[in-house]
């Protein structure tokens, strides 16, 4: 088969400074991208304003420019280096927005530079929420009722048809910045004003709130020949209403039947078609009603994202590396999967373990910020851990947070709270929600209750000692004290194990194919007795930036 012409010289845009909503995951993807392009024999030119990144190490790209990621300086670099192509999909929304500017001001055309990996149309469509909604509706894909407004007056009119509560989503902002959920009229007006200011185009989407729906993400990849694979499905422990970056997430998705999962898979492909993503990685987010399975498409990112970094680590499928290669025109079936060495990249990863990501917050460093989670991201980092079960992965991740907690045992202030106090605390999503939930007893949460966390609560329930609970079984009530005080009321890391069978000793590598081909990446999902490994070695502490980017 004919090989596509590989461009001689390619420019990659970085993501710039590290901030909330845009962190080292783009350094990780940038490094992978540069390496992949070098493998293909390209001369790589890199622009990133952040010198404290691995991708700007002198040995990586052929030329690295530490220059502001603004039109004038990037134009100057492009004029000087004259690359054949530009890949903007590895540097987050910053790089995508810059690519749109470069295209619209005619710089790319003037210098004869080809935009690879994403078209300006698909970038605009994915970010402009109104256009995105229209494209989805035309393609017959479900979206939530919403209206884009450009002024407070318009917003108030829109509210009459949509009704409270609503979610406000400013266009073209990072990490949902400037948005939020409004439950009453005054907070709606205040949030809307704030959002209109935050959006560079002064547009805010006023959307029906589906608080409590389950949230799923699919990390997908497509090549120029139309091959489409789902790299990883991710289920959010936190329901809709909490930003994905602030959510505890679980891969692979756990609470979908195969038929439901395939509906989402087909829809993800439909979204890519409708947005016009011809090649590369993308991330599609869905809301699913836990009571009846109705679903809606929330958004899609036509680029490598925070979730892609997690999906890459979780599955061993290097999304950024492969995205860079398919952007050059390579096909998925001719790129080999580095993990197995024997299967092509068109082989969808199959996991026989669970990965749990927990965001890390640092509210103590931001005195003005309220420790309340909403649609704007507040986490400063994250940890991910692998386990043979959800429970194992969750507990490993908790340990890796380095917040002096080993388990789901309640911290003292929580243990001292009474029923009403707990109920009040649980009503607000905070970084403590996992422990609050543990304290009320997950066996008191049903899938009919608003949070969509029931599946995981079931897992937690298995893991803990179930205790008889007092009060109305339909409501959240505190369990009665344990009948025997000599028995620890909750379990700690070492004591919380289920009966553990004698290991046959296989859990020693990440495998993209559930062990059905030989794997080689030494990141052990197992923590069984006899083969216990340190949690530090298996957890991926992405808040340790350089380590994450180098691996």
């Amino acid at each position: 088969m004919s090989r596509p012409a590989i461009p001689e010289s390619v420019c990659i845009l970085g993501a710039g400074p590290i901030r909330i909503g845009q962190a080292c995951e783009f350094d990780y993807s940038g490094v992978q991208g540069v390496k992949a392009l070098r493998e293909e024999g390209c001369r790589v030119v890199l622009v990133n304003s952040n010198p404290a990144t691995v991708m700007t190490d002198a040995r990586l790209a052929h030329r690295s420019y530490v220059e502001p990621l603004i039109l004038s300086s990037v134009t100057a670099v492009l004029e000087r280096e004259r690359p054949n192509a530009l890949i903007p999909t590895l540097g987050g929304q910053t790089a995508l927005n810059l690519a749109v500017e470069l295209e619209e001001t005619g710089v790319l055309e003037r210098l004869g530079i080809q935009l690879l990996g994403a078209s300006v149309r698909s970038i605009r469509l994915a970010e402009d929420r109104e256009e995105f909604r229209q494209a989805m509706t035309e393609a017959g894909l479900p979206v939530l009722p919403a209206t884009t407004v450009t002024s407070v007056e318009e917003g108030i009119r829109a509210l009459e048809t949509i009704g409270l509560p609503v979610i406000l989503r400013p266009s073209f902002t990072l990490g949902g910045w400037g948005g939020g959920t409004a439950h009453d009229r005054p907070s709606f007006e205040e949030l809307l004003r704030h959002g209109l200011e935050a959006s560079p185009t002064n547009q805010v989407l006023v959307e029906t709130s589906v608080l409590g729906w389950k949230e799923f993400e699919l990390e997908v990849m497509r090549d120029s020949a139309g091959a489409f694979v789902v790299v990883c499905s991710i289920e959010n422990f936190d329901p809709m209403g909490v930003h994905t970056g602030d959510s505890i997430t679980v891969a692979p998705a756990q609470t979908l039947t195969d038929r439901e999962y395939q509906v989402l898979r087909d829809a993800a492909r439909g979204v890519l078609d409708a947005v016009g993503v011809a090649t590369g990685g993308a991330n599609v987010q869905f809301a699913v009603n836990p009571a009846d399975g109705r679903y809606a498409i929330i958004e899609m990112n036509p680029r490598v994202s925070r979730s892609s970094a997690l999906a890459s680590k979780a599955t061993g499928f290097p999304i950024a590396r492969i995205a860079a290669k398919v952007a050059l025109g390579r096909r998925l079936d001719e790129i080999s999967n580095d993990i197995t060495g024997t299967t092509p990249a068109s082989f969808e990863p199959a996991l026989d373990y669970v990965v749990v990501k927990i965001p890390r917050f640092a509210f103590e460093k931001f005195p003005g910020a309220e420790p309340v989670l909403g649609t704007a991201m507040k986490a400063v980092g994250e940890v991910a851990a692998m386990g043979r079960s959800f429970e194992e992965a969750l507990l490993k991740a908790i340990r890796s947070l380095e917040i002096d907690r080993d388990s789901l045992d309640a911290p003292p202030d929580l243990a001292a709270a009474d029923d009403d106090g707990l109920a009040a605390r649980l009503a607000i999503a905070s970084p403590e929600r996992l422990w609050e939930l543990a304290e009320v007893g997950p066996w008191n949460v049903s899938w009919r209750s608003p949070p969509s966390i029931r599946g995981f609560c079931d897992g937690l329930r298995d893991w803990w000692r179930p205790r008889p609970c007092s009060g109305n079984p339909g409501s959240i009530s505190r369990p009665a004290p344990p009948p025997n005080d000599s028995v620890s009321p909750t379990v700690s890391w070492r004591g919380c194990s289920r009966p553990v069978p004698r290991p046959n000793g296989s859990g020693d590598s990440i495998s993209s194919c559930a062990g059905s081909a030989e794997g080689s990446t030494p990141a052990p999902p197992s923590s069984r007795p006899g083969r216990r490994i340190s949690t530090a070695a298996s957890a991926i502490a992405t808040n340790s930036r350089r380590r994450a980017a180098r691996s």
Binding site: F228, G455, R467, V487, G495, G505
Partner: protein, 395 residues
């Protein structure tokens, strides 16, 4: 009681099956022993040990007649978390002899669930081994090949199991299709589950082109897909003759999936021989292997088969890559086929044959499962093409 590592587990308050768990053992014919815990029925079961790497769809797999005679090991971390519902069943019973999983969840977390998985398995009497190191089993099968084995959930001594495992036989030379197929013909008129707003369609009408499905162990999803394409579906037992199929005015014939060794399915080749060239034919999985044999080819047993929902296949005519659902231990040998048989699909992982066609006779067959369930819907277009051929709107 089993010894627990470090004496770390207090089982006193553990629910049901965790409370004084019963041990379970899986012993392979080569003497390898795997340890776990027992749930479901209490018995000693032998069968061919196979694994499936799909991350969803345990109910579909358990009820798939292709798993008849097999001990099914699922590699996914959790099984049972979405419960059991009537629509996802691929037949009216569980065909896998036994189930081996890493973890069996107690309570479902799905609005579609009608029954807890562990209750259901216990009620219908399926032996389950949980807490097994399934990756170790997969690795063993990968190197040693699909092997017969014995699962004991009733506390049978390991020594006795090793004896029994040595005598256990695989599926080579077994005509299992006859054991799972329907005894009498029946009509099927229910369409696929699409989404909550379109749960299941009930289609009937006499103006639809009638097609016959020869049941070697058919999955209901195949029937549902055919109904969705606007065909009138009649399922026939494998003992039917070509003359009877043609006499009923069927405009097309589907050769279904099914269990076991294709070379051992009695009478199938005569039946297929009588149909080739008379009506459009679609073969799926076992149906594809039977077509390959009838057309003069040979089937071989793969080292450990293809069992999962993630196998990339190239459709040679369009050069498209399809991610497919697969479940087969045998494959048609490409080199054994006569020249006039076209190879239409190739597995991108190991290059084995995944589809064949005899264009002059309107014969098309695929080794994978275009009806998915569980797995991606990438290849459902095959049913559309078949329906067009049945209507005569496509050659």
């Amino acid at each position: 009681m089993l010894p627990y590592a470090d004496g770390m587990t207090n089982t006193r308050y553990l629910p049901r099956q965790f409370n004084s768990p019963r041990p379970a053992h899986l012993v392979l014919t080569d003497g390898t022993v795997f340890f776990g815990f027992a749930a479901g029925a209490s018995s000693t079961i032998d069968g061919e040990v196979v694994f499936n790497t799909s991350m969803t769809g345990y109910q579909e797999m358990l009820t798939d007649p292709s798993y008849h005679g097999q001990i099914l090991c699922l590699t996914t971390s959790h099984v049972g978390q979405v419960g059991i519902n009537a629509l996802d069943a691929e037949s009216d019973r569980v065909w896998a002899r036994a189930l081996v999983v890493q973890d069996l969840d107690l309570e479902p977390s799905s609005w579609r669930s009608e029954e807890d998985t562990s209750d259901w398995l216990a009620r219908i009497g399926v032996a389950v081994g949980w807490g097994f190191d399934v990756r170790a089993i997969v690795r063993h099968i990968r190197t040693a090949g699909a092997v017969p084995g014995v699962l004991a959930t009733d506390g049978t001594a390991v020594d006795a199991l090793v004896e029994r495992a040595r005598a256990a036989r695989g599926t080579d030379g077994c005509d299992l299709a006859r054991e799972v197929a329907c005894g009498e013909a029946y009509a099927w008129d229910r369409g696929p589950w699409r989404s909550p707003s379109h749960p299941e369609t009930d289609e009937s009408g006499d103006d639809r082109p009638p097609v016959a499905v020869i049941d070697f162990g058919v999955k209901r999803s195949i029937l549902r897909r055919l109904v969705a394409e606007g065909l009138r579906v009649r399922v026939l037992p494998p003992s039917v003759t070509a003359r009877e199929v043609l006499a009923d005015g069927h405009t097309g014939v589907v050769l279904s999936n099914g269990p076991g060794d294709p070379a051992a399915v009695a009478g199938a080749q005569d039946l297929i021989d009588g149909l080739i060239g008379k009506v459009p034919i679609l073969g799926i999985c076992l149906g594809c292997q039977l077509l390959g044999l009838t057309l003069g080819g040979r089937t071989v047993k793969l080292p450990y088969g293809h069992h999962g929902g993630n196998h990339p296949v190239r459709e040679l005519a369009s050069s498209r890559v399809l991610v497919t659902s697969q479940n087969h231990n045998y494959a048609v040998e490409e080199s054994s086929l006569p020249r006039e048989v076209e190879v239409t699909h190739i597995n991108l992982t190991d290059g084995t044959l995944e589809g064949l066609a005899l264009p002059r006779a309107g014969v098309e067959a695929v080794q994978f499962h275009p009806e998915a369930a569980p797995g991606p819907n990438d290849a459902v277009g095959l049913f559309t093409r078949f329906a067009e051929r049945c209507r005569g709107t496509r050659s």
